[in-house]
C-alpha cells in the first residue's frame, strides 16, 4: 500500500495530532471524543456553527474551523461519519448561548449520526438547528442527492453571518438559501486507496473515467471513456447549469476542488474552460476557489460546484475568515 502512514487504524488519529501541532495558535483539539474547536470558543452571544465528516476529505472539515467559519468540527474515522458523542462533546465546549447550526451533508451515515446528536443536544437543553447539504446533481432523485462541495460554501456563509451577530433563525435561512442555490458534480480518473483496504477501492483502466462520484472512493454513476479536460468540464457543467437554471447576467461562485491526487495544473485547466463556458452564456464568475478543498484521499479527479450569488451572499463570502484552509 503506497501510503505514508504508520498503520491503518491510527492514520486518522495521528493525522489529527499533527494537525493540532500545526495549528495550535488558532485551534484546540480534544480527543476521545475527537473534535477541533476555535481557540476563543465559546464566543458568548454568537450562533455556533458545527460540522463533521469522515477523515480523508481534508481540509474538510477540520481545516474550516476558526473565526468567520466553524466553531467546531468533528472528524470521524477514514470515510466514516463522526459519532453523536463527538458532536455532543463539541457543542458543550463551544455553545455560546445563541443557538447552534449543524451543517449536515446528505449521506446516510452523516444524517443518522447528526439526528442522534441533535436529539441528545436538545435533551440537554441546547437550541440546535440543522441545514442539509444535497448538491450532487449526478443523482437523479433530487431528494436523495449527496452532500458535496456546497458544504464549504454554506459553512463559510453561515459562519460569516454568525460572526456578524445575526440570530439563529437568520443564520439558518441564509444557510438554507446557500444550500438550495448550489450544485456539484465530480469525476474520478482513479480510485483512491483507503488505509483500511490497502489497495484501490476499484480498478479503473487508464483510458476510462468514473462520472458522478462521491467523496468516499465509491464508483460513480457510470464509467465511460476518458475524454479531454474541456469535454469533462462539459459533462459536469451541463447538469449543474441546467439544474440551477442559470440565466444570462447572473453571478456565480465557482469552486473547483481536486479530489486529492490531481495536480493544481489540471485544476486550472478545468477552471479555464468553466470560465469560458460561463462567459459564453454571459454568466459572471464573481468569485472562485481552485485547489484541494474537499478531497477523497488520493483519488485523481475533480469536483465542480457552482453557487448562485446575490449581493448578500457575496458580501458574507467576502467577510474575513481565519481558518487553516481558508484565510482572508
Amino acid at each position: 500500500m503506497q501510503k505514508i502512514i504508520n498503520n491503518p487504524a491510527d492514520a486518522a488519529l495521528e493525522s489529527l495530532q499533527g494537525f493540532e501541532f500545526a495549528f495550535r495558535r488558532l485551534l484546540r483539539v480534544s480527543y476521545n471524543p475527537n473534535f477541533v474547536w476555535r481557540r476563543d470558543a465559546p464566543v458568548a452571544g454568537k450562533v455556533s456553527i458545527i460540522s463533521g465528516s469522515g477523515s480523508g476529505h481534508e481540509p474538510l472539515n477540520i481545516g474550516y474551523v476558526g473565526p468567520g467559519m466553524l466553531d467546531a468540527a468533528c472528524p470521524g474515522a477514514v470515510f466514516t461519519s463522526p459519532t453523536p458523542d463527538q458532536y455532543l462533546a463539541a457543542i458543550r465546549a463551544i455553545y455560546g448561548g445563541a443557538g447552534a447550526l449543524f451543517v449536515v451533508k446528505n449521506f446516510g451515515g452523516g444524517v443518522l449520526n447528526t439526528e442522534v446528536a441533535l436529539e441528545l443536544a436538545r435533551e440537554e437543553g441546547y437550541n440546535v438547528a440543522s441545514v442539509l447539504i444535497h448538491d450532487d446533481v449526478s443523482i437523479d432523485q433530487s431528494d436523495n442527492r449527496r452532500g458535496m462541495g456546497a458544504a464549504i460554501l454554506v459553512e463559510k456563509i453561515a459562519g460569516a453571518a454568525a460572526e456578524a451577530g445575526r440570530p439563529l433563525d437568520e443564520v439558518v435561512t441564509l444557510a438554507q438559501r446557500t444550500s438550495s442555490q448550489a450544485r456539484s458534480m465530480a469525476v474520478a480518473l482513479s480510485s483512491c486507496t483507503s488505509p483500511y483496504v490497502g489497495h484501490p477501492t476499484f480498478n479503473l483502466p487508464s483510458d476510462q473515467m468514473e462520472v458522478g462520484v462521491g467523496i468516499h472512493g465509491e464508483p460513480g454513476r457510470y464509467r465511460t471513456a476518458l475524454v479531454s479536460a474541456n469535454q469533462i468540464v462539459d459533462i459536469l457543467m451541463e447538469p449543474i447549469v441546467r439544474d440551477l437554471a442559470l440565466q444570462a447576467d447572473e453571478r456565480v461562485l465557482v469552486l473547483v476542488s481536486g479530489l486529492g491526487g490531481t495536480p493544481r495544473q489540471e485544476l486550472f485547466i478545468v477552471f479555464r474552460h468553466i470560465y469560458d463556458l460561463l462567459q459564453q452564456r454571459s454568466i459572471i464568475v464573481e468569485r472562485q476557489l481552485v485547489g484541494n478543498y474537499i478531497t477523497s484521499l488520493d483519488m485523481a479527479g475533480c469536483m465542480v460546484t457552482l453557487l448562485r450569488l446575490d449581493p448578500e451572499l457575496t458580501s458574507l463570502w467576502d467577510a474575513p475568515v481565519h481558518t487553516p484552509a481558508l484565510h482572508w
Binding site: 487504524a9 470521524g76 451515515g109 442522534v116 483496504v197 462521491g214
Partner: protein, 221 residues
Amino acid sequence: MSQDITLAQFRRWLSLFAEQVQEQVDLLTELDAAIGDADHGANMQRGMRKVQERLQDPTATGGDIGSLFRSIAMTLISTVGGAAGPLFGAFFLRAAKDVDGTDAVSLEQLAAMFRSGLEGVQQRGKAQIEEKTMIDALQPAVEALEAAVAEGLDAAAALDRALEAARRGMLHTAELQASKGRASYLGPRSIGHQDPGATSAFYLIQSAAAALGRQAQAEES
C-alpha cells in the same frame, strides 16, 4: 413450556456476535468496497472491540438485560460511526425498552424484543424492505421468529427459523437495486452485490441462534 433465556446467554450472544464480525472483517470491507465506501468492516470491528471490552467489565454493562442492551447501544453509537452505528444502536436501544430490571426472558418476550429492535432500525433509517439494507436480513428474521413462536416451537427451533430467514434475506440483497444508503447513489450498478449491512445483520441473528437457542440447550444437556 419454553425455557427462559438468561442474562448470561444475552452476554454470550453479544460476545459471539463480536467474534463473528471480527472474523469476517475483510469480507465486510470487500462488500462495502463494491457498492459503498469500504469502511463497514473497519467500522464494525472498531465497535465490536469496544463491545468486547465492555463485556469484560460486568459493572459497565449493568446487572439486567435492559442495562446491558442500553450500554451496548451507546457503545455502538459512539464507536461504529457511519450508517451502521446509529442503526445497530437503535436496534439495541429499542429492544431494551421493556426489559429493564429483567435478567431472563421468555421466547415470546424475546420475539417482542426483536420486533422492537427492528422498529428502532426502521424509525431511525426510514428504510423499507427491499431497499437493499440491513432491514432485508432483520425483518424476515423477526417475522420468522414471531411465526415460530406462534407455532409453539422452542427457542432452538424458532431461532433456527429466524437464522434461515436472515440468510435468505441477506442473499436476496444481491438481486436488489439499492434505494437507501450509500449504495443507492450507484443506481442500477448496485445490483449484483450483496449488501454489507445485511451481512452483519445476518451475523447478529446467527450469533443469537447460537447463544440463545441451540447453544443454550447444549449447555444444559
